[in-house]
């Protein structure tokens, strides 16, 4: 029943007429939301794109504002809307204009983003609009404002858009804390979450409402302060102010015995028309590895020619560059095909978006940068190149085509290798069943909490017990103990060091009244400069330089245009003469000048020599991985697969074996004078890289002399000097011990300590928590005395205080982030007693796929000293020559 009764009593006549004038009827979920919010309750609206989600979210506010007694101009801010994208907030403001103007509602709508001029910001606080549209970072700044209590005291409703995308990151942690503060400043606040379909809507429902009763704004401070004062006076050990939940509780555990945790009401709009989703089949055999999908380019070009506007999604920036170049090579019709990814110059991206909105483009090759965003009605086809990696991700992307709910979205999945055919098939099955694999709810990050605590001190003096109660009302922090909270406060005050060296420099100070206050205006300024959780990798501009014809090898700097930016980490690995793909062209690196990478266009026909540069790379989701394993294990399913894949699996079964859906297959075989061990956990590249590091450590201890390893999304290959297969045969239990779960203990710790990824993770935590200052784009690198490398800080800290808050924060990130340790742990438990070893005399078809990764990436054993030794040998060779 997609439409409500025509004369629903909850909809005032003014609105009913407006709907009728537009030839619309209010949809059932829009009326549901109106009823729920009208009753003062919060709600989560789960709906596919094109269901009129945004209007539903604003309808309760518009109705309430329309019904306000006339002439109450000074009523203050009524509704706050928060979106993950600045552009989305601006777009929504435009969309609200129509109903407000057509119904002549006395409602003022404004946006507040990083681009809002200072005078307007000031005015917005003095004379707030009725509805304010903003981003999570701007909201954090607002609640840290001295006038926050005044500003938000009148707030009745907060609308959180694209909530599913926000809650999976540290931005979601920060927003949850801001939301808890809003609930406290405005008791009885209605929170409305708008979300695409998710696996566990209850997690989002909890996110929207306080997980425990909050002290009212006016009632709270005095009794709480008294409680706190008594405790401080009588006993140095502070009792937890309210019974904290066990830290290992997952968020589904009830808050108290028998009582379910508070949740917002749920409104679900059943999916619209089923998407028209297919795998692109071409009559060519796909390779066993590789991600370029070069064989499918002509077919993709034909699809572009046959459609109005096509979004071509890829997984990495390298793939985006490659695909863009290949499509233009085929582009005999000179169709307007554009490129969009995070490294391109921002202005360039805005131009592409504008051209798209104006319907001037036939295709955009893009990365996850366009996963979310403003609606483009004209897109009639989505093409996803490479493995989909997750069912929910692919659903979101498919939704970008055709923003009308009752028409099917059309999309093609394009596998780039034979394994990706399996993954695409698994994704097709998942979409068919509308199964979701969005990630689990997050445990709130301590570094984000540290940032928030400083912000709250900037807003006003805070009572620690009241703030603890408020923070633990936010779902991600519901399990935070009082001790953990105190550690965060201590960190904010003086760095949280066992050596009490910085007491006299404290950033926040506790007064005799028991309240914490910010030290001075400078600290508040530091907070404002540091707010937010998005840490941009430091980047250098890529500028086209002109080479001097007369003097080969010399370039004129500052002559050409800026093409975009590359990560500094990548730029640092380049040497003059290296060629790489960027902005749709093969470029030659000519050197660094100040903070710019100078490049020239490489001659036609030059192959890019440097294989890749950093870009988003998603690991295969656990859910799709399980489906791929099941597909492989069940020969009756193979009928549904293209012949080239079922033939391949048959060969594998003949030459080795195919593991069951829960088994781990380990193969050993000799090749080229070395011994190889391959294993196929199907847990994604990140978990496999961690596994490879840990296994090589163990093999080294077993004196099997590992030399290197390579990993992809499906498995790993390790090569050794000695025969691991022989050892497995001789020594019962060796293989089980090799894959035993306890590798996640000391070995992991030891490896984490040196891991470059861990250092990068630590750096991000340190910036978010304000330990070191954020570097802003365009800011020059300062001299050697002023900046301090976080790597040095990390090394010193883990040696002298390994349990420091920021190290704990970094480890918590490592569990799910770049190292995917948690997933590795799940896999090791799953395979216990289910490891199948096959000793072969030659490489099996399955193993070939991962062997092809060898040489494509950095391998174990290639430490700093090997690089230095090679450079030293050059000197020696020069000396001998």
């Amino acid at each position: 029943m997609p439409e409500g009764p025509p004369d629903d009593p909850t909809l005032p006549p003014l609105f009913a007429d407006w709907f009728a004038r537009r030839g619309w009827r209010p949809r059932a979920h829009q009326l549901d939301l109106l009823r729920i919010a009208g009753g003062g309750r919060s709600a989560l609206l789960v709906a596919p794109t094109g269901a009129g989600k945004t209007l539903a979210g604003f309808l309760p506010s518009l109705v309430a504002l329309a019904g306000r007694p006339g002439g109450t101009k000074a009523a203050g801010l009524h509704t706050l809307y928060v979106s993950p994208l600045k552009a989305l907030a601006v777009d929504i403001a435009r969309n609200l204009d129509a109903p407000i103007a057509e119904m002549a509602l006395p409602v003022r709508v404004e946006t507040r983003t990083g681009d809002t001029p200072a005078h307007k910001r000031t005015r917005q606080i003095e004379r707030p609009p009725d509805i304010l549209l903003t981003t999570p970072e701007q909201l954090s700044l607002l609640i840290a404002h001295r006038e926050a209590a005044e500003l938000f005291g009148s707030l009745r409703c907060v609308v959180l858009d694209e909530l599913h995308a926000l809650v999976t990151s540290k931005r979601g942690d920060l927003l949850s804390l801001a939301l808890a503060r809003l609930h406290r400043l405005s008791p009885g606040l209605t929170a409305i979450g708008l979300s695409a379909t998710v696996r566990e809507p209850d997690e989002l429902r909890r996110y929207l409402v306080p997980q425990k009763a909050l002290p009212g704004r006016d009632a709270a401070p005095s009794p709480v302060r008294e409680r706190d004062g008594v405790r401080d006076a009588t006993s140095p050990e502070r009792a937890p102010p309210s019974p904290p939940r066990e830290p290992e509780d997952d968020s589904s555990a009830p808050e108290a015995e028998g009582a379910p945790p508070p949740m917002a009401d749920l409104v679900v709009v059943a999916g619209g028309a089923k998407p028209d989703l297919r795998m692109l089949e071409i009559d060519l055999r796909l390779p066993l590895a590789g991600h370029t999908a070069y064989q499918s380019m002509p077919a993709i070009y034909d699809l572009i020619r046959a459609h109005r506007t096509v979004l071509v999604f890829v997984n990495t920036r390298l793939q985006a560059e490659y695909t863009f170049q290949e499509l233009w090579r085929l582009n005999d019709d000179v169709l307007p095909i554009a490129l969009h990814h995070g490294s391109l110059d921002a202005q360039q991206r805005r131009r592409v978006e504008a051209a798209m909105a104006a319907g001037q483009l036939r295709a955009i090759v893009c990365t996850a940068t366009l996963d979310l965003g403003i609606d483009w009605g004209d897109v009639d086809l989505v093409v996803n190149i490479g493995a989909p990696k997750g069912a929910s991700r692919i659903m979101q992307r498919i939704g970008r085509a055709n923003h009308r709910m009752d028409e099917p979205s059309k999309a093609y999945l394009v596998p780039a290798n034979r394994f990706e055919i399996l993954e695409c098939q698994a994704a097709l099955d998942a979409v068919e069943e509308a199964a979701q694999d969005t990630p689990d709810a997050r445990l709130g990050a301590p570094d984000v909490l540290a940032q928030h605590v400083l912000g709250m001190a900037c807003a006003d003096a805070f009572d620690p017990v009241a703030l603890y109660d408020e923070v633990t009302a936010a779902a991600p922090y519901a399990g935070l103990t009082w001790e953990e909270f105190e550690q965060v406060v201590d960190y904010v005050a003086t760095g949280g060091y066992a050596l009490r060296a910085y007491e006299r420099f404290a950033k926040i100070l506790r007064g005799p009244d028991g309240l914490w206050r910010v030290r001075d205006a400078r600290v508040a300024q530091q907070y404002r400069m540091n707010v937010g959780t998005i840490i941009e990798a430091s980047k250098v501009k890529v500028r086209l330089a002109r080479s001097l014809r007369g003097k080969p090898g010399t370039v004129l700097p500052k002559t050409g245009r800026v093409l975009g930016e590359i990560e500094e980490d990548f730029a640092e690995t380049l040497t003059v003469g290296d060629t790489f793909l960027f902005a749709g062209e093969v470029l030659r690196f000519e050197g660094l000048a100040e903070d710019e990478a100078l490049v020239t266009k490489a001659g036609p026909g030059t192959d890019p020599a440097i294989p890749s540069y950093a870009g988003a790379k998603f690991p295969l989701s656990t859910f799709l991985a399980a489906r791929v394993r099941a597909l492989i294990a069940d020969p009756f399913e193979w009928d549904r697969l293209p012949r080239q894949v079922s033939d391949y699996l048959l060969q594998q079964r003949r030459r080795s074996l195919l593991p069951g859906p829960r088994d781990l297959l380990v193969e050993t075989f000799p090749r080229g004078g070395r011994h190889y061990l391959t294993a196929f956990p199907f847990e994604g590249r990140l978990a496999h890289q961690t596994l490879g590091m840990l296994l090589t450590r163990r093999l080294e201890r077993a004196r099997l002399r590992p030399l290197g390893f390579a990993a992809n999304d499906y498995g790993i290959a390790i090569w050794t000097t000695r025969d691991v297969g022989e050892r497995i045969g001789f020594e019962p239990g060796f293989l089980e011990a090799l894959f035993a779960e306890d590798m996640l203990g000391d070995d992991l710790e030891a490896w984490l300590d040196e891991s470059a990824m861990m250092k990068r993770t630590f750096r991000q935590c340190a910036v978010i928590a304000g330990l070191i200052e954020r570097r802003f784009p365009g800011q020059k690198k300062t001299g050697r005395q002023v900046t301090i490398s976080t790597d040095l800080v990390y090394d010193v800290l883990r040696k002298h205080q390994p349990d420091h808050l920021l190290l704990r924060a970094a480890r918590q990130d490592a569990a799910t982030g770049l190292l995917d340790v948690r997933r590795l742990g799940m896999m090791l438990r799953r395979i216990q007693g289910r490891i199948i070893h096959k000793a072969l005399d030659r490489v099996s078809p399955l193993s070939v796929s991962v062997m092809l990764e060898i040489g494509r990436e950095r391998v174990y054993g290639e430490g700093a000293d090997e690089i230095l030794a090679e450079a030293e040998a050059q000197l020696l060779e020069e000396a001998l020559a």
């Binding site: 060091y497 950033k507 330990l771 092809l852 000293d865 230095l868 030794a869």
Partner: protein, 250 residues
């Protein structure tokens, strides 16, 4: 597939490196007739004088940040630096230790030192000559931290001072610049602290736990080494001699 195997070449180079290491057991240098040992910890050992030289300790750099800019870096840099120094002192048992300037990050550093760290320093100084050479960060006399204080020191044919002087006589050993060398190869870059020398002058790496580095390809090194130089990079397991052509800019 055999062409994708990256190990043959590396094995060869590793073996080469090991041979080299054996041949030059302890990497050394002759400067103005004095025989110098470049130690992996970043210190310079003069066996003939039983003297250990370390440069740019920058003690109390962490607390200096806290005092000046409210950045609470771990307050453990002083004890970490002293622990490394302790390790080297225990190994060489020097008669004399020379700190080649910028021993404290700022003039008030000695005041901020923790009592424990102060005791550690006193224990290191016990029974040996200890020389603080003046630096630009700690030009004033370091009060209450033991040892003696001087602008420059002559040791055999060597002149020890904090800031190198272009055109100065052979045998100058200086610090100040915090040299670092970078090697970029096959998509990887390694950046390490290093000694820099042309056989006439030696610039020492910074020893302090929180000291960053200046790339040896920076213009600041040009007037000091008009005829090129070799950088001796501190690796994980040993010191590597890298020619100028193999060193990348930042």
């Amino acid at each position: 597939m055999s062409d994708a195997d990256p190990f043959t070449r590396e094995d060869r180079i590793l073996a080469l490196g090991q041979r080299l290491e054996k041949a030059t057991k302890a990497p050394g240098l002759i400067l103005a007739g004095e025989s110098l040992t470049l130690d992996l910890c970043g210190g310079l050992w003069l066996e003939a004088h039983r003297t250990l030289i370390v440069s740019d300790l920058h003690l109390e750099k962490g607390s200096s940040f806290a005092a000046r800019s409210g950045q609470f870096l771990p307050p453990y840099d002083t004890r970490e630096t002293l622990a490394c120094l302790h390790e080297a002192v225990a190994r060489f048992d020097p008669r004399c230790v020379v700190a080649l300037g910028d021993s404290f990050h700022d003039a008030r550093g000695p005041e901020r030192m923790e009592p424990g760290d102060r005791a550690l320093l006193a224990a290191l100084q016990e029974g040996r000559d200890w020389v603080w050479i003046a630096g630009n960060h700690d030009a004033a006399v370091n009060e209450g931290v033991g040892g003696r204080y001087t602008e420059t020191l002559s040791l055999g044919g060597l002149t020890l001072r904090h800031e190198p002087r272009p055109g100065a006589a052979a045998g100058e050993v200086a610090g100040h610049l915090h040299p670092c060398g970078k090697v970029a190869m096959r998509g990887r870059a390694v950046r390490r602290r290093c000694f820099v020398s042309d056989g006439h002058r030696l610039i020492m790496p910074a020893f302090g736990a929180f000291t960053g580095g200046l790339n040896v390809r920076d213009a600041a090194f040009e007037p000091l080494f008009p005829n090129g130089f070799t950088a001796h990079l501190l690796g994980d397991g040993r010191v590597f001699a890298i020619g100028r052509t193999m060193l990348a800019r930042d």
